[in-house]
Protein backbone atom coordinates (compact mmCIF):
# COMPACT_ATOMS: atom_id res chain seq x y z
CA UNK A 1 0.00 0.00 0.00
CA UNK A 2 1.02 3.52 -0.60
CA UNK A 3 0.98 4.39 3.06
CA UNK A 4 3.28 1.48 3.82
CA UNK A 5 5.57 2.28 0.97
CA UNK A 6 5.89 5.80 2.25
CA UNK A 7 7.14 4.78 5.66
CA UNK A 8 10.85 4.93 5.19
CA UNK A 9 13.14 2.73 7.21
CA UNK A 10 13.50 4.70 10.38
CA UNK A 11 16.92 5.83 11.39
CA UNK A 12 17.03 5.10 15.06
CA UNK A 13 19.70 6.49 17.27
CA UNK A 14 19.38 3.52 19.55
CA UNK A 15 19.37 0.65 17.11
CA UNK A 16 22.35 -1.03 18.67
CA UNK A 17 20.89 -1.43 22.12
CA UNK A 18 18.92 -4.62 22.71
CA UNK A 19 17.32 -4.07 26.08
CA UNK A 20 14.14 -2.06 25.49
CA UNK A 21 14.27 -0.51 28.98
CA UNK A 22 17.81 0.64 28.35
CA UNK A 23 16.74 1.95 24.99
CA UNK A 24 13.90 3.96 26.53
CA UNK A 25 16.21 5.36 29.16
CA UNK A 26 18.78 6.49 26.63
CA UNK A 27 16.07 8.02 24.48
CA UNK A 28 14.69 9.92 27.46
CA UNK A 29 18.14 11.17 28.42
CA UNK A 30 18.67 12.30 24.87
CA UNK A 31 15.36 14.16 24.78
CA UNK A 32 16.07 15.71 28.17
CA UNK A 33 19.50 16.83 26.94
CA UNK A 34 17.96 18.41 23.87
CA UNK A 35 15.42 20.19 26.02
CA UNK A 36 18.16 21.58 28.23
CA UNK A 37 20.29 22.75 25.30
CA UNK A 38 17.42 24.38 23.44
CA UNK A 39 15.02 25.17 26.26
CA UNK A 40 17.29 26.79 28.85
CA UNK A 41 18.71 29.48 26.55
CA UNK A 42 15.22 30.22 25.22
CA UNK A 43 13.85 30.42 28.72
CA UNK A 44 16.69 32.69 29.79
CA UNK A 45 15.87 34.96 26.87
CA UNK A 46 12.25 35.17 27.89
CA UNK A 47 13.26 35.91 31.48
CA UNK A 48 15.68 38.62 30.40
CA UNK A 49 13.05 40.26 28.21
CA UNK A 50 10.83 40.72 31.28
CA UNK A 51 13.60 41.47 33.77
CA UNK A 52 13.43 44.79 35.62
CA UNK A 53 16.25 43.87 37.93
CA UNK A 54 18.25 40.66 37.80
CA UNK A 55 21.54 40.32 39.62
CA UNK A 56 23.70 37.33 40.36
CA UNK A 57 23.15 34.94 42.14
CA UNK A 58 19.36 35.09 41.73
CA UNK A 59 17.97 32.31 39.55
CA UNK A 60 15.06 34.45 38.35
CA UNK A 61 14.74 38.23 38.05
CA UNK A 62 13.94 40.08 41.27
CA UNK A 63 11.81 42.66 39.47
CA UNK A 64 9.50 42.18 36.52
CA UNK A 65 8.67 44.73 33.81
CA UNK A 66 7.31 45.09 30.32
CA UNK A 67 9.11 48.36 29.68
CA UNK A 68 11.62 46.75 27.32
CA UNK A 69 8.73 45.64 25.16
CA UNK A 70 7.28 49.15 25.30
CA UNK A 71 10.62 50.56 24.34
CA UNK A 72 10.88 48.24 21.35
CA UNK A 73 7.35 48.74 20.11
CA UNK A 74 7.52 52.52 20.54
CA UNK A 75 10.47 52.58 18.17
CA UNK A 76 8.97 53.14 14.67
CA UNK A 77 11.97 51.50 13.00
CA UNK A 78 11.18 48.27 14.82
CA UNK A 79 7.54 48.30 13.80
CA UNK A 80 8.49 49.09 10.20
CA UNK A 81 11.00 46.23 10.20
CA UNK A 82 8.40 43.81 11.57
CA UNK A 83 5.86 44.85 8.96
CA UNK A 84 8.49 44.51 6.23
CA UNK A 85 9.61 41.08 7.42
CA UNK A 86 6.06 39.84 7.45
CA UNK A 87 5.35 41.20 3.99
CA UNK A 88 8.50 39.69 2.51
CA UNK A 89 8.30 36.20 4.00
CA UNK A 90 4.85 35.24 2.61
CA UNK A 91 5.72 36.57 -0.85
CA UNK A 92 9.00 34.63 -0.81
CA UNK A 93 7.15 31.50 0.30
CA UNK A 94 4.45 31.74 -2.37
CA UNK A 95 6.90 32.50 -5.19
CA UNK A 96 9.18 29.70 -4.04
CA UNK A 97 6.26 27.27 -3.92
CA UNK A 98 5.19 28.28 -7.42
CA UNK A 99 8.62 27.30 -8.72
CA UNK A 100 9.53 24.45 -6.37
CA UNK A 101 6.30 22.44 -6.66
CA UNK A 102 6.48 22.01 -10.45
CA UNK A 103 10.26 21.58 -10.24
CA UNK A 104 9.96 18.94 -7.52
CA UNK A 105 7.28 17.15 -9.51
CA UNK A 106 9.44 17.19 -12.62
CA UNK A 107 12.48 15.89 -10.74
CA UNK A 108 10.40 13.15 -9.11
CA UNK A 109 8.32 11.96 -12.04
CA UNK A 110 9.70 13.00 -15.37
CA UNK A 111 12.85 11.77 -16.93
CA UNK A 112 14.77 14.97 -16.37
CA UNK A 113 18.23 14.61 -17.93
CA UNK A 114 21.05 15.17 -15.44
CA UNK A 115 18.55 15.05 -12.59
CA UNK A 116 21.17 14.55 -9.91
CA UNK A 117 23.44 17.22 -11.34
CA UNK A 118 20.59 19.73 -11.41
CA UNK A 119 19.59 18.90 -7.85
CA UNK A 120 23.18 19.40 -6.77
CA UNK A 121 23.34 22.69 -8.65
CA UNK A 122 20.57 23.87 -6.39
CA UNK A 123 22.84 23.18 -3.46
CA UNK A 124 25.75 25.23 -4.73
CA UNK A 125 24.70 28.46 -2.97
CA UNK A 126 24.88 26.48 0.26
CA UNK A 127 28.30 25.05 -0.45
CA UNK A 128 30.23 28.31 -0.29
CA UNK A 129 30.44 31.06 2.26
CA UNK A 130 27.27 33.00 1.71
CA UNK A 131 28.87 36.36 2.15
CA UNK A 132 30.87 36.04 -1.06
CA UNK A 133 27.73 35.17 -2.99
CA UNK A 134 25.89 38.14 -1.52
CA UNK A 135 28.65 40.58 -2.41
CA UNK A 136 28.72 39.45 -6.04
CA UNK A 137 24.93 39.51 -6.06
CA UNK A 138 25.04 43.08 -4.79
CA UNK A 139 27.32 44.01 -7.69
CA UNK A 140 24.83 42.45 -10.09
CA UNK A 141 21.93 44.20 -8.33
CA UNK A 142 23.62 47.60 -8.83
CA UNK A 143 23.78 46.94 -12.54
CA UNK A 144 20.14 45.94 -12.88
CA UNK A 145 18.79 48.42 -10.34
CA UNK A 146 17.62 45.85 -7.84
CA UNK A 147 19.80 47.12 -5.02
CA UNK A 148 17.83 48.53 -2.11
CA UNK A 149 14.49 47.34 -3.54
CA UNK A 150 11.73 45.12 -2.20
CA UNK A 151 12.06 42.61 -5.03
CA UNK A 152 15.81 42.59 -4.67
CA UNK A 153 15.40 41.32 -1.12
CA UNK A 154 12.70 38.83 -2.15
CA UNK A 155 14.87 37.31 -4.89
CA UNK A 156 17.83 37.09 -2.55
CA UNK A 157 15.77 35.16 -0.02
CA UNK A 158 14.57 32.85 -2.74
CA UNK A 159 18.12 31.68 -3.48
CA UNK A 160 18.05 29.89 -0.17
CA UNK A 161 14.40 28.87 0.03
CA UNK A 162 14.31 27.34 -3.45
CA UNK A 163 16.89 24.81 -2.30
CA UNK A 164 14.88 23.64 0.69
CA UNK A 165 11.64 23.53 -1.09
CA UNK A 166 12.74 21.80 -4.28
CA UNK A 167 14.53 19.08 -2.35
CA UNK A 168 11.62 18.48 -0.01
CA UNK A 169 8.95 18.50 -2.72
CA UNK A 170 11.06 16.18 -4.88
CA UNK A 171 11.27 13.67 -2.06
CA UNK A 172 7.58 14.11 -1.32
CA UNK A 173 6.44 13.47 -4.87
CA UNK A 174 8.81 10.53 -5.16
CA UNK A 175 7.22 8.93 -2.13
CA UNK A 176 3.80 8.90 -3.83
CA UNK A 177 3.08 5.70 -5.77
CA UNK A 178 2.83 6.66 -9.48
CA UNK A 179 0.08 4.06 -9.84
CA UNK A 180 -2.21 6.28 -7.75
CA UNK A 181 -1.92 8.93 -10.42
CA UNK A 182 -2.37 6.40 -13.21
CA UNK A 183 -5.49 5.06 -11.52
CA UNK A 184 -6.92 8.59 -11.60
CA UNK A 185 -6.09 8.92 -15.29
CA UNK A 186 -7.67 5.53 -15.87
CA UNK A 187 -10.85 6.71 -14.13
CA UNK A 188 -11.09 9.60 -16.57
CA UNK A 189 -9.04 12.42 -15.05
CA UNK A 190 -6.88 14.67 -17.21
CA UNK A 191 -3.21 14.90 -16.14
CA UNK A 192 -3.93 18.20 -14.38
CA UNK A 193 -7.03 16.85 -12.65
CA UNK A 194 -5.13 13.74 -11.53
CA UNK A 195 -2.50 16.00 -10.01
CA UNK A 196 -5.00 18.19 -8.13
CA UNK A 197 -7.26 15.40 -6.93
CA UNK A 198 -4.68 12.77 -6.04
CA UNK A 199 -1.06 13.87 -6.04
CA UNK A 200 -1.43 17.31 -4.50
CA UNK A 201 -3.52 16.27 -1.46
CA UNK A 202 -1.10 13.44 -0.75
CA UNK A 203 1.90 15.76 -1.11
CA UNK A 204 0.34 18.49 1.00
CA UNK A 205 2.11 17.62 4.27
CA UNK A 206 5.48 17.78 2.53
CA UNK A 207 4.56 21.01 0.80
CA UNK A 208 3.43 22.54 4.09
CA UNK A 209 6.69 21.59 5.77
CA UNK A 210 8.67 23.00 2.86
CA UNK A 211 6.67 26.25 2.94
CA UNK A 212 7.26 26.50 6.64
CA UNK A 213 10.99 26.17 6.17
CA UNK A 214 10.91 28.80 3.44
CA UNK A 215 8.85 31.20 5.53
CA UNK A 216 11.14 30.88 8.53
CA UNK A 217 14.31 31.04 6.45
CA UNK A 218 13.09 34.29 4.87
CA UNK A 219 12.10 35.69 8.24
CA UNK A 220 15.53 34.85 9.58
CA UNK A 221 17.75 35.98 6.71
CA UNK A 222 20.04 38.84 7.77
CA UNK A 223 23.41 38.72 6.02
CA UNK A 224 22.25 39.13 2.45
CA UNK A 225 19.39 41.44 3.30
CA UNK A 226 21.84 43.72 5.07
CA UNK A 227 23.97 43.92 1.93
CA UNK A 228 21.31 44.37 -0.74
CA UNK A 229 18.47 45.91 1.29
CA UNK A 230 20.04 48.83 3.13
CA UNK A 231 19.20 51.53 3.75
CA UNK A 232 15.49 51.28 3.00
CA UNK A 233 14.68 47.61 3.36
CA UNK A 234 15.64 46.70 6.88
CA UNK A 235 14.03 43.47 8.08
CA UNK A 236 13.81 42.40 11.71
CA UNK A 237 17.01 40.38 11.96
CA UNK A 238 18.96 43.11 10.15
CA UNK A 239 17.61 45.70 12.52
CA UNK A 240 18.52 43.48 15.40
CA UNK A 241 22.13 43.35 14.26
CA UNK A 242 22.33 47.11 13.87
CA UNK A 243 20.51 48.02 17.07
CA UNK A 244 21.73 45.38 19.44
CA UNK A 245 24.92 47.17 20.35
CA UNK A 246 23.20 50.45 21.12
CA UNK A 247 20.59 49.03 23.47
CA UNK A 248 20.59 47.42 26.88
CA UNK A 249 20.77 43.66 27.14
CA UNK A 250 17.05 43.10 27.85
CA UNK A 251 16.15 44.85 24.59
CA UNK A 252 18.23 42.34 22.67
CA UNK A 253 16.34 39.64 24.53
CA UNK A 254 13.03 41.16 23.44
CA UNK A 255 14.26 41.07 19.84
CA UNK A 256 15.25 37.46 20.13
CA UNK A 257 11.91 36.51 21.60
CA UNK A 258 10.08 38.39 18.86
CA UNK A 259 12.16 36.62 16.20
CA UNK A 260 11.72 33.18 17.75
CA UNK A 261 8.00 33.54 18.30
CA UNK A 262 6.85 33.03 14.68
CA UNK A 263 9.06 29.95 14.35
CA UNK A 264 7.70 28.50 17.54
CA UNK A 265 4.07 29.22 16.68
CA UNK A 266 4.40 27.86 13.16
CA UNK A 267 6.29 24.75 14.21
CA UNK A 268 3.70 23.91 16.84
CA UNK A 269 0.86 24.60 14.41
CA UNK A 270 2.40 22.39 11.72
CA UNK A 271 3.70 19.81 14.14
CA UNK A 272 1.57 17.00 12.79
CA UNK A 273 3.03 17.51 9.33
CA UNK A 274 6.61 17.45 10.50
CA UNK A 275 7.25 13.86 9.55
CA UNK A 276 10.82 12.85 9.76
CA UNK A 277 11.12 11.83 6.12
CA UNK A 278 10.29 15.30 4.81
CA UNK A 279 12.68 16.97 7.20
CA UNK A 280 15.34 14.46 6.24
CA UNK A 281 14.73 15.29 2.59
CA UNK A 282 15.40 18.92 3.29
CA UNK A 283 18.70 17.85 4.74
CA UNK A 284 19.74 16.06 1.60
CA UNK A 285 18.06 12.66 1.31
CA UNK A 286 16.54 12.35 -2.13
Amino acid sequence: MAAGARALPGVSLTWAIDDPRMRRLILRLFVAGLAVFIGIPLLTLVLWSFAGEWFWPNVIPTQWTIRWYEQVFENPRVVNAMVLSFTIAPVVTVLTALIAIPAGYAFARLNVPFRRVLLLLFLIPNAFPRIGLYVSLAVLYYQINLIDTYWGVVFLHMIGTLVYMTWITTATFRSIDPHLEEAARDAGASPLRAFWSVVFPLALPGIIVASLFSFLASLDEAQGTLIVGTPHFITMPVLMYTLISSFERPVAAVFSVLLSLPSLVLLVAAQRYLRSEYVAAGLGRV
Partner: protein, 354 residues
Protein backbone atom coordinates in the same frame (compact mmCIF):
# COMPACT_ATOMS: atom_id res chain seq x y z
CA UNK B 1 -20.39 -5.53 -27.06
CA UNK B 2 -16.71 -4.90 -26.85
CA UNK B 3 -13.90 -6.53 -28.67
CA UNK B 4 -10.30 -5.48 -28.52
CA UNK B 5 -7.58 -6.02 -31.04
CA UNK B 6 -3.84 -5.52 -31.11
CA UNK B 7 -2.36 -5.24 -34.59
CA UNK B 8 1.38 -5.68 -34.95
CA UNK B 9 2.08 -3.81 -31.73
CA UNK B 10 5.71 -3.28 -30.69
CA UNK B 11 7.37 -1.34 -27.92
CA UNK B 12 11.12 -0.78 -27.68
CA UNK B 13 13.15 0.39 -24.75
CA UNK B 14 16.38 1.69 -26.20
CA UNK B 15 17.21 -1.12 -28.64
CA UNK B 16 15.45 -3.91 -26.77
CA UNK B 17 11.96 -4.96 -27.80
CA UNK B 18 9.76 -5.24 -24.70
CA UNK B 19 6.88 -6.21 -26.96
CA UNK B 20 7.60 -7.35 -30.48
CA UNK B 21 4.95 -7.35 -33.21
CA UNK B 22 2.13 -8.70 -31.06
CA UNK B 23 -1.22 -9.30 -32.72
CA UNK B 24 -4.17 -10.50 -30.69
CA UNK B 25 -7.92 -10.33 -31.19
CA UNK B 26 -10.13 -10.73 -28.15
CA UNK B 27 -13.83 -11.15 -28.92
CA UNK B 28 -16.63 -9.77 -26.79
CA UNK B 29 -16.99 -11.22 -23.28
CA UNK B 30 -13.83 -13.28 -23.51
CA UNK B 31 -11.44 -13.59 -20.59
CA UNK B 32 -7.86 -13.70 -21.87
CA UNK B 33 -4.82 -14.19 -19.64
CA UNK B 34 -1.40 -12.89 -20.64
CA UNK B 35 0.92 -15.38 -18.99
CA UNK B 36 4.68 -15.33 -18.84
CA UNK B 37 7.77 -14.83 -16.69
CA UNK B 38 8.74 -11.37 -15.52
CA UNK B 39 10.07 -9.23 -18.33
CA UNK B 40 8.16 -11.16 -21.01
CA UNK B 41 6.21 -8.09 -22.10
CA UNK B 42 2.83 -8.98 -20.62
CA UNK B 43 2.54 -5.93 -18.38
CA UNK B 44 3.82 -3.64 -21.14
CA UNK B 45 1.12 -5.06 -23.41
CA UNK B 46 -1.56 -4.43 -20.79
CA UNK B 47 -0.33 -0.89 -20.15
CA UNK B 48 -0.47 -0.21 -23.88
CA UNK B 49 -4.10 -1.38 -23.85
CA UNK B 50 -4.82 0.98 -20.94
CA UNK B 51 -3.04 3.86 -22.66
CA UNK B 52 -0.19 4.37 -20.20
CA UNK B 53 2.40 3.34 -22.78
CA UNK B 54 2.27 4.33 -26.39
CA UNK B 55 3.30 1.60 -28.80
CA UNK B 56 6.15 2.37 -31.18
CA UNK B 57 4.45 0.52 -34.01
CA UNK B 58 1.08 -1.07 -34.60
CA UNK B 59 -2.49 -0.25 -33.70
CA UNK B 60 -4.87 -0.91 -30.84
CA UNK B 61 -8.55 -1.13 -31.70
CA UNK B 62 -11.55 -1.30 -29.40
CA UNK B 63 -14.78 -2.20 -31.19
CA UNK B 64 -12.99 -1.47 -34.44
CA UNK B 65 -12.12 2.07 -33.36
CA UNK B 66 -8.45 3.01 -33.35
CA UNK B 67 -7.53 4.12 -29.82
CA UNK B 68 -3.75 3.96 -30.27
CA UNK B 69 -3.36 7.71 -29.81
CA UNK B 70 -5.93 8.17 -27.04
CA UNK B 71 -4.71 8.87 -23.48
CA UNK B 72 -6.00 6.55 -20.70
CA UNK B 73 -8.74 8.97 -19.62
CA UNK B 74 -10.34 8.77 -23.05
CA UNK B 75 -10.30 5.00 -23.41
CA UNK B 76 -13.21 2.74 -22.44
CA UNK B 77 -10.87 0.59 -20.38
CA UNK B 78 -10.58 0.22 -16.61
CA UNK B 79 -7.57 -1.16 -14.85
CA UNK B 80 -7.03 -2.95 -11.56
CA UNK B 81 -3.48 -2.44 -10.37
CA UNK B 82 -1.23 -4.93 -8.64
CA UNK B 83 -0.88 -2.55 -5.69
CA UNK B 84 -4.66 -1.77 -5.92
CA UNK B 85 -3.70 1.93 -6.09
CA UNK B 86 -6.66 2.99 -3.97
CA UNK B 87 -6.41 6.68 -3.10
CA UNK B 88 -5.53 6.67 0.59
CA UNK B 89 -6.94 10.14 1.29
CA UNK B 90 -10.39 9.21 0.02
CA UNK B 91 -12.97 6.91 1.58
CA UNK B 92 -14.03 3.77 -0.24
CA UNK B 93 -17.15 5.60 -1.41
CA UNK B 94 -15.10 8.52 -2.74
CA UNK B 95 -12.70 6.14 -4.44
CA UNK B 96 -15.55 4.46 -6.28
CA UNK B 97 -17.37 7.72 -7.06
CA UNK B 98 -14.34 9.61 -8.39
CA UNK B 99 -14.75 8.58 -12.02
CA UNK B 100 -18.53 9.05 -11.91
CA UNK B 101 -18.11 12.59 -10.59
CA UNK B 102 -15.72 13.37 -13.43
CA UNK B 103 -18.44 12.17 -15.78
CA UNK B 104 -20.93 14.55 -14.11
CA UNK B 105 -23.28 11.78 -13.06
CA UNK B 106 -26.00 13.15 -10.70
CA UNK B 107 -25.12 12.74 -7.02
CA UNK B 108 -28.06 10.49 -6.13
CA UNK B 109 -27.20 8.15 -8.97
CA UNK B 110 -23.53 8.10 -7.96
CA UNK B 111 -24.35 6.87 -4.46
CA UNK B 112 -26.72 4.28 -5.85
CA UNK B 113 -24.22 2.94 -8.38
CA UNK B 114 -21.39 2.87 -5.84
CA UNK B 115 -23.56 0.89 -3.45
CA UNK B 116 -24.70 -1.49 -6.17
CA UNK B 117 -21.11 -2.13 -7.22
CA UNK B 118 -20.02 -2.84 -3.65
CA UNK B 119 -22.82 -5.43 -3.60
CA UNK B 120 -21.46 -7.01 -6.78
CA UNK B 121 -18.01 -7.40 -5.22
CA UNK B 122 -19.74 -8.61 -2.00
CA UNK B 123 -18.40 -5.89 0.24
CA UNK B 124 -21.48 -3.86 1.19
CA UNK B 125 -21.48 -1.05 3.74
CA UNK B 126 -17.85 0.05 3.70
CA UNK B 127 -18.40 3.35 1.82
CA UNK B 128 -17.26 5.48 4.74
CA UNK B 129 -14.14 3.57 5.59
CA UNK B 130 -10.68 4.45 4.38
CA UNK B 131 -8.68 1.94 2.31
CA UNK B 132 -6.12 1.56 5.11
CA UNK B 133 -8.89 0.22 7.36
CA UNK B 134 -9.53 -2.70 5.01
CA UNK B 135 -7.70 -5.99 4.59
CA UNK B 136 -5.77 -6.78 1.41
CA UNK B 137 -8.59 -8.89 0.01
CA UNK B 138 -11.14 -6.18 0.76
CA UNK B 139 -8.97 -3.53 -0.87
CA UNK B 140 -8.79 -5.80 -3.89
CA UNK B 141 -12.59 -5.89 -4.05
CA UNK B 142 -12.79 -2.12 -3.76
CA UNK B 143 -10.26 -1.72 -6.57
CA UNK B 144 -12.39 -4.03 -8.67
CA UNK B 145 -15.54 -2.06 -7.83
CA UNK B 146 -13.81 1.22 -8.65
CA UNK B 147 -12.86 -0.11 -12.07
CA UNK B 148 -16.23 -1.72 -12.82
CA UNK B 149 -18.50 1.13 -11.68
CA UNK B 150 -17.54 3.13 -14.76
CA UNK B 151 -19.02 0.45 -16.99
CA UNK B 152 -15.84 -0.06 -19.00
CA UNK B 153 -15.88 -1.98 -22.23
CA UNK B 154 -12.64 -3.72 -21.32
CA UNK B 155 -11.46 -4.74 -17.85
CA UNK B 156 -7.68 -4.89 -17.42
CA UNK B 157 -6.10 -6.63 -14.44
CA UNK B 158 -2.39 -6.43 -13.67
CA UNK B 159 -1.39 -9.33 -11.40
CA UNK B 160 -4.24 -8.42 -9.06
CA UNK B 161 -3.76 -11.35 -6.70
CA UNK B 162 -0.01 -11.40 -6.22
CA UNK B 163 -0.17 -9.43 -2.95
CA UNK B 164 -2.62 -11.83 -1.31
CA UNK B 165 -1.83 -14.97 0.67
CA UNK B 166 -2.30 -18.35 -1.00
CA UNK B 167 -5.74 -19.28 0.40
CA UNK B 168 -7.23 -15.87 -0.30
CA UNK B 169 -5.72 -15.90 -3.75
CA UNK B 170 -7.69 -19.02 -4.65
CA UNK B 171 -10.92 -17.47 -3.33
CA UNK B 172 -10.44 -14.15 -5.14
CA UNK B 173 -9.63 -16.08 -8.30
CA UNK B 174 -13.12 -17.59 -8.25
CA UNK B 175 -14.62 -14.22 -7.28
CA UNK B 176 -13.06 -12.38 -10.20
CA UNK B 177 -14.17 -15.08 -12.58
CA UNK B 178 -17.72 -14.97 -11.14
CA UNK B 179 -17.91 -11.18 -11.50
CA UNK B 180 -16.54 -11.35 -15.02
CA UNK B 181 -19.20 -13.92 -15.95
CA UNK B 182 -21.94 -11.94 -14.20
CA UNK B 183 -21.09 -8.67 -15.97
CA UNK B 184 -20.14 -10.37 -19.24
CA UNK B 185 -17.17 -8.06 -19.61
CA UNK B 186 -14.24 -8.51 -21.97
CA UNK B 187 -11.23 -9.02 -19.71
CA UNK B 188 -7.46 -9.08 -20.08
CA UNK B 189 -5.64 -10.52 -17.10
CA UNK B 190 -1.88 -10.37 -16.64
CA UNK B 191 -0.24 -12.99 -14.46
CA UNK B 192 2.92 -15.00 -14.02
CA UNK B 193 0.97 -17.68 -12.17
CA UNK B 194 0.01 -20.49 -14.55
CA UNK B 195 -2.60 -21.85 -12.17
CA UNK B 196 -4.43 -18.50 -12.23
CA UNK B 197 -4.28 -18.41 -16.01
CA UNK B 198 -5.35 -22.03 -16.46
CA UNK B 199 -8.27 -21.84 -14.03
CA UNK B 200 -9.66 -18.40 -14.89
CA UNK B 201 -9.14 -17.64 -18.54
CA UNK B 202 -11.07 -18.68 -21.63
CA UNK B 203 -7.88 -18.34 -23.60
CA UNK B 204 -4.29 -17.91 -22.55
CA UNK B 205 -1.56 -16.05 -24.41
CA UNK B 206 1.79 -17.38 -23.24
CA UNK B 207 4.42 -14.69 -23.72
CA UNK B 208 8.20 -14.74 -23.68
CA UNK B 209 10.68 -12.11 -24.79
CA UNK B 210 7.98 -9.81 -26.07
CA UNK B 211 6.37 -12.41 -28.30
CA UNK B 212 3.17 -14.44 -27.91
CA UNK B 213 4.49 -17.98 -27.97
CA UNK B 214 1.10 -19.63 -28.03
CA UNK B 215 -2.53 -18.59 -27.84
CA UNK B 216 -5.08 -21.17 -26.85
CA UNK B 217 -7.28 -22.59 -24.14
CA UNK B 218 -5.92 -24.44 -21.12
CA UNK B 219 -5.92 -27.81 -22.92
CA UNK B 220 -4.14 -26.41 -25.97
CA UNK B 221 -1.26 -24.94 -24.07
CA UNK B 222 -0.96 -27.78 -21.58
CA UNK B 223 -1.46 -30.80 -23.82
CA UNK B 224 -0.22 -29.34 -27.09
CA UNK B 225 2.44 -26.77 -26.29
CA UNK B 226 3.56 -24.97 -29.46
CA UNK B 227 7.12 -24.26 -28.37
CA UNK B 228 9.61 -25.77 -25.98
CA UNK B 229 9.27 -22.60 -23.91
CA UNK B 230 5.56 -23.24 -23.36
CA UNK B 231 6.23 -26.91 -22.59
CA UNK B 232 8.75 -25.82 -19.99
CA UNK B 233 6.91 -22.82 -18.51
CA UNK B 234 3.50 -24.49 -18.16
CA UNK B 235 3.60 -27.48 -15.85
CA UNK B 236 6.60 -29.79 -16.01
CA UNK B 237 8.20 -31.59 -18.89
CA UNK B 238 11.00 -34.03 -19.62
CA UNK B 239 13.28 -32.64 -22.31
CA UNK B 240 15.62 -34.32 -24.77
CA UNK B 241 17.59 -33.08 -27.76
CA UNK B 242 17.55 -35.07 -30.98
CA UNK B 243 17.20 -35.20 -34.76
CA UNK B 244 14.02 -35.60 -36.75
CA UNK B 245 13.49 -38.67 -38.96
CA UNK B 246 10.31 -39.85 -40.66
CA UNK B 247 9.80 -43.51 -41.51
CA UNK B 248 6.65 -45.43 -42.57
CA UNK B 249 4.33 -42.58 -41.64
CA UNK B 250 5.77 -42.30 -38.13
CA UNK B 251 7.80 -39.32 -37.01
CA UNK B 252 10.80 -40.18 -34.87
CA UNK B 253 13.23 -38.16 -32.85
CA UNK B 254 16.63 -39.85 -32.82
CA UNK B 255 18.42 -39.25 -29.57
CA UNK B 256 21.86 -40.82 -29.62
CA UNK B 257 21.30 -44.52 -30.53
CA UNK B 258 17.72 -44.42 -29.30
CA UNK B 259 14.59 -43.14 -30.94
CA UNK B 260 11.31 -41.83 -29.62
CA UNK B 261 8.05 -41.59 -31.54
CA UNK B 262 6.76 -38.03 -31.56
CA UNK B 263 3.63 -36.26 -32.75
CA UNK B 264 3.86 -35.19 -36.41
CA UNK B 265 5.90 -32.03 -36.94
CA UNK B 266 5.00 -29.61 -39.71
CA UNK B 267 7.55 -27.53 -41.52
CA UNK B 268 10.70 -29.22 -40.27
CA UNK B 269 12.72 -31.37 -42.69
CA UNK B 270 14.25 -34.73 -41.80
CA UNK B 271 17.55 -34.22 -40.05
CA UNK B 272 16.36 -31.05 -38.29
CA UNK B 273 17.55 -30.60 -34.73
CA UNK B 274 14.63 -30.83 -32.37
CA UNK B 275 13.81 -30.45 -28.70
CA UNK B 276 11.58 -33.31 -27.54
CA UNK B 277 9.28 -32.92 -24.56
CA UNK B 278 6.84 -35.10 -22.72
CA UNK B 279 4.86 -34.60 -19.52
CA UNK B 280 5.70 -36.76 -16.48
CA UNK B 281 2.02 -37.70 -16.13
CA UNK B 282 1.87 -39.34 -19.59
CA UNK B 283 5.11 -41.25 -19.14
CA UNK B 284 4.09 -44.85 -18.71
CA UNK B 285 6.00 -46.97 -16.19
CA UNK B 286 6.37 -50.74 -16.78
CA UNK B 287 8.34 -53.40 -14.91
CA UNK B 288 9.28 -55.65 -17.87
CA UNK B 289 11.22 -54.83 -21.03
CA UNK B 290 9.12 -54.18 -24.13
CA UNK B 291 9.67 -52.36 -27.43
CA UNK B 292 9.97 -48.61 -26.97
CA UNK B 293 10.50 -48.81 -23.22
CA UNK B 294 13.66 -47.34 -21.74
CA UNK B 295 15.36 -48.83 -18.68
CA UNK B 296 15.75 -46.35 -15.85
CA UNK B 297 18.92 -46.34 -13.74
CA UNK B 298 18.91 -45.27 -10.09
CA UNK B 299 15.15 -44.98 -9.81
CA UNK B 300 13.97 -43.10 -6.74
CA UNK B 301 10.61 -41.82 -5.51
CA UNK B 302 9.74 -38.30 -4.44
CA UNK B 303 6.52 -37.90 -2.47
CA UNK B 304 4.32 -34.90 -3.33
CA UNK B 305 1.53 -35.75 -0.93
CA UNK B 306 -1.18 -36.30 -3.54
CA UNK B 307 1.06 -38.38 -5.80
CA UNK B 308 4.62 -39.58 -6.20
CA UNK B 309 7.20 -38.79 -8.80
CA UNK B 310 9.56 -41.44 -10.08
CA UNK B 311 12.90 -39.95 -11.07
CA UNK B 312 15.75 -41.78 -12.76
CA UNK B 313 18.28 -41.66 -15.51
CA UNK B 314 18.66 -43.29 -18.89
CA UNK B 315 22.25 -43.65 -20.13
CA UNK B 316 21.46 -42.02 -23.49
CA UNK B 317 18.37 -39.88 -22.85
CA UNK B 318 19.46 -38.45 -19.52
CA UNK B 319 17.15 -37.67 -16.57
CA UNK B 320 13.52 -38.74 -16.88
CA UNK B 321 10.63 -38.20 -14.47
CA UNK B 322 7.25 -39.93 -14.37
CA UNK B 323 4.20 -39.36 -12.25
CA UNK B 324 3.11 -42.52 -10.44
CA UNK B 325 0.32 -43.34 -7.99
CA UNK B 326 1.02 -43.39 -4.27
CA UNK B 327 0.65 -47.16 -4.29
CA UNK B 328 3.74 -47.50 -6.49
CA UNK B 329 6.65 -49.26 -4.75
CA UNK B 330 10.24 -49.76 -5.83
CA UNK B 331 11.66 -53.27 -5.46
CA UNK B 332 14.40 -55.42 -6.97
CA UNK B 333 12.74 -55.47 -10.38
CA UNK B 334 14.03 -53.02 -12.97
CA UNK B 335 11.95 -50.00 -14.02
CA UNK B 336 11.16 -49.10 -17.64
CA UNK B 337 9.46 -46.00 -18.98
CA UNK B 338 7.57 -45.47 -22.22
CA UNK B 339 7.63 -41.94 -23.55
CA UNK B 340 4.15 -41.42 -24.98
CA UNK B 341 2.66 -38.34 -26.62
CA UNK B 342 6.08 -36.78 -26.98
CA UNK B 343 6.26 -33.54 -28.93
CA UNK B 344 9.20 -32.31 -30.97
CA UNK B 345 10.00 -28.64 -31.53
CA UNK B 346 12.26 -27.63 -34.35
CA UNK B 347 13.52 -24.24 -33.18
CA UNK B 348 16.58 -22.16 -33.80
CA UNK B 349 19.12 -22.65 -31.01
CA UNK B 350 18.40 -19.20 -29.60
CA UNK B 351 14.72 -20.05 -29.15
CA UNK B 352 15.36 -23.17 -27.14
CA UNK B 353 14.69 -23.09 -23.47
CA UNK B 354 17.58 -21.78 -21.44
Amino acid sequence: MAEVELRGVSKYYKEVAAVSDVSLRIPDREFVALLGPSGCGKTTTLRMLAGFIRPDTGQILIDGKDVTDLPPERRPTAMVFQSYALWPHMTVGENISFGLKLRKVPAAQIAERARAMLDVVRLPGVEHRFPSQLSGGQQQRVALARALVLGPKILLLDEPLSNLDAKLRVRMRDEIRRIQQELQITTVYVTHDQEEALTMADRIAVMNRGVIQQLGDANDIYDRPATSFVADFIGQSNFFRGTLRRANGVTWAHIGDERVAVEPVDGAPDGAHVTVSTRPEVVEVVRAPEPGAFALDDPRLVNFGAYQRLAGRHPTLGPIEARVPKSFRLDARPVYVKLTRARAFAEPEAEMRD
